[in-house]
Amino acid sequence: MSAELRNYDQELFWFQRRLSLAAVLVVIGFLILLGRFVYLQVIQHKHFATLAEANRIDTQPEAPNRGIITDRNGVVLASNYSAYTLEMNPQKIADLDAAIDEVSKIVEISARDRRRFKRLYDEFRTNDSLPLKSRLTDEEVARVAANRYRLPGVEIKARLFRQYPFGELASHVVGYIGRISQGEKERIEQQGLTASYKGSDYIGKRGIELSYEKELHGSAGSTEVEVDANRRVVRVLSRKPSVVGNNLQLSLDIRLQKIAEDAFGSKRGALIAIEPGSGDVLAFVSKPGYDPNLFVDGIDTESWDALRDSPDKPMLNRPLQGGYPPGSIYKPFMALMAQELGVRTASQTINDPGFFRLGAGHWRDDKDGGHGIVDMVKSIAISCDTYYYQLASELDIDDWAGFMKQFGFGQKTGIDIDGELPGILPNREWKAKRFPKDPKLHVGDQVSLGIGQGFNTFTPMQMAYATAVLANRGVAFKPHLVKRVQDARTGESRLTQPSPAYTIPLKQAHVDVVLKGMEGVVTGGTGRTAFLNAKYTSGGKTGTAQVFGLRGGEYKASQIAERLRDHAWYIALAPMDRPTIALVAFVENGGFGAEAAAPIARKVLDAYFDPALLDAAIRKSVSPAEALASASLQREVKRAR
């Protein structure tokens, strides 16, 4: 019994001791919790307070409206409209194809949409969502919204889209925008423009859109909002509006451009028309063109391959990147140089037997039996090769190149779109560098150069510029496509090209002779047929440039493969008393300049001098697109308010 009692006591003793121990542990436990509170709420308070704010506040970038591009008369060439896009986030989707199939049950997804999405995905591999279909109708938006729960990773977004209402027309001038690539992203970062581009997905890729990116883009704004954990906006805290891009007014007259492009039909080539007294580029044609709208929401692989691989090279900007021998349109400049260098006077004549012989060399004139007695004016009007063979053989090539350089041959004209090539204006140094095995520039080479063949490689832009400088009698204006940059908010605008770049010291009497020869081309020379009954005076020069050297044998255009046919050229300036337009028309593999190029120049000049023709050009074909463009402009204005 006592043992049992002792046992009781012992058990009670144990119990009390253990209970005390437990009580101590409880106190320690709560002290640990208090320590944790102090750590979180006092020591780390700032850190967590910052995190809570970051949780709560979301900065939503607001992409700026891109500047609008208009022609010289205010016709819109590139504008924005807002539309709904259906976007998918590849990160949140395991099986893209299955997801697209699922979406296509709700909204029609074309094969092109699919291909384009694939291409975007392959190209960018981003964490962002990519557009699958753009320009959804209100009904489609509603249908997707209703089925959203079935489509994880799919969202509808309102975005601004670039639109080029004229499509292919002037596509090589305006260019296009596209999604910002990795390389462009890095460049933006290097230039410290990251903040301006927050929220922007697009950047200029070609043409004016590329070269004036800085003006057009504007800078991003941002909205600070309070959001919940699902990133739903609860309320707006502050807003910094975006700054819209500047609007650009081009020197281009879209009506003239339209007439020029139509005049080409399906032919390949280039045409540049310049106002000599200002450097304004009035028309800038590169045929064939492409539809820039294809690129706006990402081009699909097949369309891109078709453009890239086409033998017609629609993506080539021929005026800037096409290098061709000028052929006989070089002759007026040769004639001017002969006088300036004192090698010929205007009245000096030669007797053309139909060929030129020098040592063992023999060069044919294109007229059998020759042109007879030929002076400088006639040599231009009838395009006498022998006259220039002889002249060229007497010149020093470095003096020659030095003179021609003043007219911009063999160098970039500095026009305001990227991608211009310099071409080749041959001299001794160039020959030695280019042909180390045959470093000497022979007299025989010079003879060919004298009629614009051989090594001469100029871009159509250079020819247009040279013609404009000649028309302006040596006063050179830098050619430019953008005339005016307008701040969309203040309405203030500035001209891009205020004054002449330089003046070539020419004796005006020498210029008169050349212009007289060029007028002769139109009134009684090689351009007579093309300019029959013109209502204005003009000067011109035809040119036919060989694609490859014909070694003897008769030239039969019809028998030569189309791609090996001669290139056709025509330069023109008008009116003769004080030219307000200078142009070059170039038809790739067009054959004779007088037949292929001169008629195109005629159509452009006719329209240039006849406002009724100009207006008709644009009313006829573009009004629906124009209506669309202005409609989207209005929508945009509403948005901005």
Binding site: E4, N7, Y8, E11, W14, F15, Q16, R18, L19, A22, A23, V26, V27, G29, F30, I32, L33, L34, R36, F37, V38, L40, Q41, V42, Q44, H45, H47, F48, A49, L51, A52, N55, R56, E226, V227, D228, A229, N230, V234
Partner: protein
């Protein structure tokens, strides 16, 4: 008559314990209103549950410990039977078999019954062998612990299993389990845990939860999200908190489970360190009172059950706050008397009722 009824109600009520519990529950309702984005729905529902739970508590407080002890065996047997039922045909929710659908009653979670039943049967068992306890009794007791523990682990619900295990251990500990066994058991558990980790006996989500405590950034989306957002809520509360109804983490839906297991994060954000201290002090007062009751209990059954309940209250509060503040893995343990939800509330008030019964029937036994 009314006076008689009133005294019947209050005679067995421990005023101190009741006051503290009421204070904590009231605080809980206040926080719940904020967590429910200033709507009354959940507050009313919880208040009703508190009232029902208090009534049950009073009823139990009026029963003598001897009477309560009679329920130990049937309750334990029923609990085990239900756990077996869960294992055979329970409802699978989120990959675990924890619920049992009983026609006419609804879904019940039998592991909850075990939280009370296990301490009861152990206390009952030890009292039966009072004065003549030897190692065999502890072996039997250990078996009584291991059966429900194993069944709940298999559901799988490691968190609840550990709590059930803890309740069993507390009884053994207070009953005087040899220190050598406790120490060697602790070592064995550590080895078993290491082995379980190494040989993949643990479920991936369980491992993940444990890893998440060590480094919440590991998985910011799922398991880590709870922990990180709770820490942000509490930490950003600072000294005095953002004020009632002003918690941004709470009201912008960053906090998960903010009505239930994570309600302390809401409290910490809105009432700060000061609020935290107040709550800890309330729990200390409550548990301290429970310890006093245990120390003064007149029977072994009363001592063991009261001591175990005291430690269980502490464990729930500690584990919950520890997990919400990111010190312990996320397991499904509600904050005692504050978290929204009826089952846990009922269990807790039954436990408080048992405490009061032990306290109020002490003199009766003595005299």
């Amino acid at each position: 008559m009314i006076q008689h009824l009133w005294s019947k109600l209050t005679d067995h009520l421990d005023p101190f314990l009741f006051a503290v519990v009421t204070a904590i529950a009231a605080l809980g309702l206040l926080v719940l209103y904020s967590a429910a984005n200033e709507t009354m729905g959940r507050v009313i529902s919880q208040s009703q549950k508190v009232v029902v739970a208090v009534v049950i508590m009073i009823v139990i407080a009026n029963l003598s410990p001897q009477f309560i002890a009679r329920f130990a065996v049937p309750l334990y047997v029923i609990g085990i039977a239900l756990l077996v039922g869960v294992a055979l045909g329970g409802e699978v929710v989120k990959g675990a078999r924890r619920w049992l659908k009983i026609p006419g009653i609804g879904n019940i979670q039998p592991s909850e019954i075990m939280k009370i039943a296990l301490p009861l049967i152990l206390a009952w068992y030890f009292e039966r062998h009072e004065g003549s306890m030897n190692w065999r009794n502890f072996v039997v007791a250990a078996i009584l612990v291991v059966i429900p523990f194993g069944l709940v682990v298999r559901q799988p619900d490691l968190g609840t299993a550990l709590l059930i295990g803890a309740s069993g251990f507390y009884v053994l500990f207070l009953a005087g389990l040899d220190w050598r066994i406790i120490v060697s058991g602790a070592i064995l558990s550590a080895i078993a845990f290491a082995a379980a980790w190494e040989f993949n006996w643990l479920h991936d989500y369980q491992k993940e939860r444990i890893l998440t405590v060590i480094n919440p950034q590991l998985d910011t989306q799922d398991a880590g999200w709870h922990t990180i957002q709770a820490a942000i809520a509490i930490g950003s509360g600072g000294l005095f908190g953002k004020g009632w109804l002003n918690g941004t983490q709470t009201h912008l839906e960053f906090l998960p489970e903010k009505h239930t297991d994570f309600i302390f994060a809401v409290y910490g954000e809105e009432f700060g360190l000061v609020g935290g201290i107040v709550l800890v002090v309330l729990y200390l007062l409550f548990i301290g009172r429970c310890f006093v009751i245990a120390a003064n209990a007149s029977t072994l059954f009363g001592r063991l059950i009261a001591g175990t309940m005291s430690l269980l209250f502490f464990t729930y509060a500690f584990v919950n706050i520890g997990m919400v503040t990111g010190m312990l893995p996320v397991v499904g343990v509600p904050l005692p008397f504050m978290s929204f939800g009826g089952t846990a509330l009922m269990t807790l008030f039954i436990a408080v009722g048992i405490m009061m019964s032990v306290q109020s029937h002490r003199k009766l036994v003595n005299s």
